[in-house]
Symmetry: C2
Subunit: 233 residues, 2 copies
């Protein structure tokens, strides 16, 4: 028999998926505006962020209503708490896409640095992480979620490489300092987007298995070299 709470949880999942879709679009549009040097397209990122913010408030309200009226237990309760957290991460991802727009606008005010280096690839990787984390959430698939944690390492490696190249650029030609700095900040924004996707994946694993994989509580070896998924620069 279908329980009322199942229907509500299904609706919550659909909202989160939709919101995640807008996050992906916001990241893609911000990156593409930068690649194509079309600053007017950053406006679209703000529009997506407004939608994400509205959804953020609605999902929070829906979770509070569910907790108050249905008194969910065990797996349902874990899932709703995970949604509250995933919702927060998605909202902050919208902020980061807007941050890319701000830095991107400043970058486009000056002549281009020749390469965007690995930034487009980094953006692509991050979007794959977001999509995979939310797929894992909807399918309650903790193995798929664990794969997202691995992918974050390659995003971090890309960021490190971008930093090195841009610092070398600045040193060779000080007139490039401001442009290079804007790209460094964009690489940092993308890295943070990857961190948020990682947070979502960790919340999915907790919601599905009841196991807490944060802070090496589940698999200490993963976190030894890197005390926290977010602590890097």
């Amino acid at each position: 028999m279908e329980r009322a709470i199942d229907l509500e949880i299904q609706k919550l999942k659909e909202r989160i998926l939709l919101m995640g879709g807008y996050v992906e679009k916001a990241i893609e549009e911000a990156t593409q505006a930068l690649i194509d040097r079309e600053p007017e397209r950053f406006e679209k990122v703000h529009e997506y962020e407004t939608i994400i913010n509205r959804s953020h408030i609605e999902v929070d309200e829906a979770c509070l209503r569910l907790l108050a009226r249905q008194s969910p237990l065990a797996a349902d309760l874990r899932l709703i708490v995970a949604v509250i957290k995933i919702n927060t991460d998605l909202e902050r991802m919208g902020d980061q896409a807007v941050n890319i727009s701000h830095n991107g606008k400043r970058y486009l005010e000056r002549p281009p640095l020749k390469p965007l280096i690995d930034l487009p690839r980094m953006s692509q990787e991050v979007r794959v992480m977001v999509r995979a984390a939310l797929d894992a959430f909807v399918k309650r698939d903790s193995v798929m979620a664990a794969d997202v944690l691995q992918r974050d390492d390659s995003v971090d490696a890309l960021k490190h490489h971008i930093f090195q190249e841009l610092i070398a650029y600045m040193g060779k030609d000080p007139t490039t300092i401001e442009q290079a700095l804007n790209l460094i900040l964009i690489a940092r924004n993308l890295e943070r987007l990857g961190d948020h996707a990682t947070n979502i994946a960790e919340d999915v694993i907790f919601a599905v298995t009841g196991k807490d994989v944060r802070h090496g509580a589940h698999n200490p070896s993963r976190r030894v070299a890197k005390p926290s998924g977010k602590a890097k620069t």
Copy 2:
């Protein structure tokens, strides 16, 4: 009559306060190690982060237990959901303190740039925000929380000023690029700490008043010039 849930909520508040105290200490130690050029003191920041991470997991577990066993309603429910969010912000603040340590260590590997400019002041401001946000939480004081939102503007202004000065430094003397970049990233870390304190203050206002002040839902004028408290660089 004292309800069982009141005692549990009191315990939760004490844990959050304790955790916030460690966050303050971590920020202070990271900044002071930088000012005094004593890199070995960054180790202490990692120790604080380990304590914060342990607390993060315990608070989450306590919240889930409370939600499952006590089926809290209305104000209690809003407060517990706020604790889940505040807990996440405090944990990420620990990460940011570690990020300051990483950037600080790299900074201290080279000769100093003459001034640390406004970084010590920015760190001080951020710690005041953390303390005020958590005081507001414990006292259920939404006016005090609203004051934190205002303070964030001065932190952002400090960051902007620091960025401008450091970019000028880099331009005048390209041998300072790496040191200046490390300080720029530290200013960015401090700005993010201010954003997290702002998030906490917003959650306090919601928990106390039931009003959502995020995304200009409560007072649109505050957010017009700045689409989101976190979207800046």
